[in-house]
Amino acid sequence: MSATETSLQNFQADIDKWMSENIPNKPGFLLPLTFLEVGTEQQLDFLREWQHKLWSAGFLGMHWPTEYGGQGADPAYQGIVDKALGAHNAPIIFNTIGLNWTGPLLLDVGTEEDRKRYIKNILTGEEIWCQGFSEPDHGSDLGNVQTRAVRDDDEFIVNGSKIWTTLGNYADHMILLARTDTSTARKYDGLSFFLAPMKVAGVEARPIRKVTGEYGFNETFFTDARIPASCLLGDEGGGWRMAMKTLEYERGVIAGQASAHSMQSIGLEDLMYAMHDFERDGAPILEDAMIRDELVKLAIEAKANSISDRRASIPALNTDYPFGIALSNKYRHTEYARRLKMMGAHVQGAQGALFMDDDKAYMGGFWQRAYFANFGTTIGGGTTQIQANIIGEHVLGLPKS
């Protein structure tokens, strides 16, 4: 499918119709707001079925090659689908680590065999992926990864532990960064990158309870776990480069992701909706001068963020810092979202002090939960502070911290 204006317009109409007819009704249980919060089998089954439905209709990984389960279409089509998913408030597309990080990585640097083996099942939701980068003692300091993978003929024996393993207790595979050599001069050169099976002896994922009270993360323990040597992606000792490439997909620095709808989008419109339900000083809250100024500040930030994203594709307007807008994507968007969601709790007056389990909580504690859950995005994938180092060093050329 090429992307002429007419064909895109027609597609927009088709997709709106499909969404209104096919998005499942809200189930009788709370759905996760983001892929970081899938905490029950019930949620998992629901989301897996929904992802499969979207893929079966041809609306997931549309721009991925047909031989691996995509549609071979122009990326503009998936963009329309993703926008429509947000606009129709659809449940999230949960297999994010497969769809947005592993999939594009394999299309980029994987072997033909890897692509054939893994990509279609990522799209259908039949196989769930998780990521094993961070370790309990080395959060943002990836170069210091200590989990060991020791070669034993045509296998590697893995020992150590990983933390913040989103979807780890459900996953079939992990993109795993492990140390295969402890003697290298540079710590980075001793790392290797694996497409590791999770359902083998010696791998155990223990769910971690989060600040929201929900689950979704795990600590993953490897105890003499044997994985085939063929799981290696790239060269032994070449893991750092693969990990950095993965992070570029994760942070949205480069495109190619199967779907952007990995989080239920919460925007200013949602906050405006809440404005109808609260008062301050006995008058509608929207008449409060202080509240108005905060909302305007958020609106300016939201607009500047999205126009900047568009500006990134106009090279003549990016000559001073060619990759600056892309490299600051995560920094800008996740911090804006944090401020927006915090505001959602602030506007509630005393009700803002209630949490999810209270039957008087506004919208079931939606904003409080969203605010807390947002820390997953300002911490995961390299914290905001690490992002600031990256922008400072790689965009502005400042010395390393």
Partner: protein, 375 residues
């Protein structure tokens, strides 16, 4: 698309691209640091030969129709030029001149062909708008009688000393807003008092127009919306200039952080300095996006609601960003930053000036609130 965020349009034409390249080179060549410093002390605040070159490049008429000697490219084409001048802290009466042309053509029209021809041909012009300090006041205190004779004075008229034409905002006997076109030569020297501005690259005066007879008075339906549009375009051009100055200020900070050592380390390795510098960078990019977005929303007709939102957002963001950049630039340069010699002094002064032109960030956020929240 949600109402509160609205249009996300950002266009950048081939002409804008060429103008950006040419203007950057021109400013780099004509406005090195030494020249900026030299002009601070001068009476005019700009170099006459450089102004002539700029006129020869056609920049005084970029926005004007070809029928009056312009290029017909609209305000959008001026943005890269003004941004570049901001980057080089280049003093010229270009922005004042362009804004006068916009006010005159929006308030009047084809009958003002001769004045617009003068402007596109290189005669400097300006708008006398403020009665006092308040950008939010009506500012029509100067009265214009039936014979076109003015009474009253105007505050902080930019580049007044150079102006061949001065567009004075006032009111007629009925109290309706008018724009009186006054020839600069008709304002006596003793009726002009120049200000000591915080930004030494800029010039402005208080002018007493009492007894001055206007060459012509523009009145009627179009005047009120022309004044409104002049204020919005003024805010946008100030924002564009601020973005340029912010980028130069940022470059200065980055250079210092990459070369200055303390405690045996380059100070740019300290996150206490690095992270705020990143925030200046991100603020600068956001301001720049909003400026070029606004330039995509403006045309020769009365400004749309989207254009108004865009101009106000651009000014609010660019003002806050340049203020932060100038402030941190002084601080991060340490003892040297506190001195006159350090270029941080130029940037913090530019920031303080820029914030107060056409309304500060709070002024624009207050006006954005009903546009965004009560629609």
């Amino acid at each position: 698309m949600s109402a509160i965020i609205g249009s996300k349009k950002i266009d950048f034409s081939e002409e804008q691209g060429m103008l950006l390249d040419v203007a950057r080179e021109f400013v780099k060549d004509k406005s090195p640091g030494s020249e900026v410093r030299k002009l601070l002390e001068s009476e005019a605040g700009f170099s006459e030969p450089v102004w002539q070159e700029l006129v020869d490049l056609g920049w005084t008429g970029i926005n004007l129709p070809e029928s009056v000697g312009g290029s017909g490219l609209g305000i959008a084409a001026l943005i890269p030029v003004v941004e570049s001048m901001g980057k080089g802290l280049m003093g010229t009466p270009l922005v004042s001149t362009v804004l006068a042309a916009e006010l005159i053509r929006r308030a009047g029209g084809i009958a003002e062909e001769d004045v617009l021809e003068d402007i596109s041909g290189g005669c400097a012009a300006t708008v006398a708008y403020l009665d006092g300090s308040d950008w939010g006041a009506t500012n029509t205190g100067v009265s214009v009688d039936a014979n076109g004779v003015l009474s009253g004075s105007k505050f902080m008229v930019p580049d007044a000393a150079q102006a061949t034409w001065i567009a004075v905002v006032g009111s007629d006997a009925a109290g309706d807003a008018v724009v009186a076109l006054v020839a600069g030569r008709d304002v006596a020297a003793q009726a002009q008092a120049s200000h000591a501005l915080i930004d030494l690259t800029k010039r402005a005066s208080t002018l007493d127009f009492t007894g001055v007879k206007a060459q012509r008075v523009l009145s009627g339906d179009k005047v009120a919306s022309a004044i409104r549009d002049y204020l919005l375009i003024g805010a946008l051009l100030t924002a564009a200039e601020a973005v340029g100055s912010t980028s130069a200020c940022l470059a200065g900070i980055v250079d210092y952080l990459k070369t200055r050592k303390q405690f045996g380390k380059l100070i740019g390795s300290f996150q206490a300095l690095k992270h705020p510098t990143v925030d200046i960078y991100v603020g600068m990019e956001h301001s720049r996006s909003l400026v070029y977005h606004a330039s995509s929303e403006i045309d020769d007709g009365p400004l749309s609601a989207e254009a108004e939102v865009a101009c106000r957002m651009a000014k609010a963001k660019a003002s806050d960003t340049i203020q932060y950049a100038g402030d941190r630039s002084v601080q991060f340069h340490g003892g040297f930053g506190f001195t006159w010699e350090c270029d941080s002094s130029l940037f913090i002064r530019r920031a303080a000036w820029s914030q107060q032109q056409f309304g500060d960030a709070m002024h624009h956020r207050k006006r954005l609130a009903p546009l965004l929240l009560d629609a």
